[in-house]
């Protein structure tokens, strides 16, 4: 592998790491927000 191969590998690994973290964070955030709104909906139905 030449110099540009190693450069591509380094930048590729970083892009995959950052991209994966970004996607997983978005997914976790969406999941938690959905769980919270379901709990609050459920709570407001039971409250009376």
């Amino acid at each position: 592998m030449g110099s540009w191969g190693f450069i591509g590998l380094a930048y590729g690994v970083a892009a995959v790491a950052i991209g994966t973290f970004f996607v997983l964070l978005k997914r976790r955030l969406r999941g938690a927000a959905e769980e919270l709104s379901a709990l609050e909906r459920d709570g407001s139905r039971r409250a009376p």
Binding site: F6, I7, L9, A10, A14, F21, F22, L25, L36, L39
Partner: protein, 230 residues
């Protein structure tokens, strides 16, 4: 925090633009190094990554002290969020350093003081995150985590000065050194642009990650309230 959450998309967009400019400067505009040739371009990613990781762990350190002092879970939310992002950037540092090491030193890894201390830093904060996720009592997890984060932070000055205190393969710092950076201007600019871009990306991730932590706290509150009501 509400304001930070509102401006998060703008921070993310600015980070993306700066990183795109930094990529162009680092991969196209910067000249090849006289000794390392084109491989030097990996440094435009490797150095900003470790500086951003240091920033993330410094935030963990400060937030952990504040948590132990005030016992306010908002500080703990910042600490655990910043630690997670710091681990990602330390992982990138280790990976890009290893990829640079293979063609330069002939090995993917060597037990050099700087490399070993960076691996220890990574392991300490992975351990911190594991401790946090396995703790059954969130308050106890936050307390033990804060102590571990404060002790673990000592690895950073040790890591920075390792290249001066011991004989290492890793070159001394050319950026964070007494007397200012020793890098040529044509190479310093892409380095600083990428550093700014990654720090803004860190800030974006931090705001979003803290937002997640707040939603999780709210879920726990709602469940506890419901549990009390029976």
């Amino acid at each position: 925090m509400e304001r930070a959450t509102r401006i998060a998309p703008s921070i993310g967009a600015i980070a993306a633009v700066i990183l795109a400019v930094g990529l162009y400067l680092g991969l196209v505009a910067a000249p090849p190094d006289a000794v390392m040739g084109e491989l030097q371009r990996i440094m435009y990613l490797h150095v900003p990554s470790i500086v951003t990781a240091y920033l993330a762990f410094s935030v963990v350190f400060c937030a952990s002290i504040l948590y132990l002092w005030k016992r306010d879970l908002r500080f703990d939310a910042v600490a655990v969020s910043s630690a997670e992002i710091g681990v990602v950037f330390t992982g990138i540092t280790l990976a890009t350093g290893s990829i640079w090491g293979k063609p330069t030193w002939g090995v993917w890894w060597t037990w050099d003081a700087r490399l070993t201390l960076t691996a220890i830093l990574f392991t300490i904060y992975v351990g911190y995150l594991m401790l946090r996720s396995f703790a059954e009592d969130p308050q106890a997890g936050a307390r033990y985590g804060a102590v571990l984060a404060i002790i673990g932070f000592l690895d950073i000055p040790l890591n920075h000065f390792a290249v001066y205190w011991w004989r290492t393969l890793h070159q001394p710092s050319s950026l964070l050194r007494a007397g200012g950076p020793s890098v040529a201007r044509a190479m310093l600019v892409p380095l600083l642009v990428n550093m700014l871009g990654l720090m803004l990306l860190y800030l974006y991730f931090l705001v979003r990650r803290v937002q997640l932590e707040r939603v999780r706290h709210r879920i726990i509150e709602v469940r506890l309230r419901r549990g009390r009501r029976g």
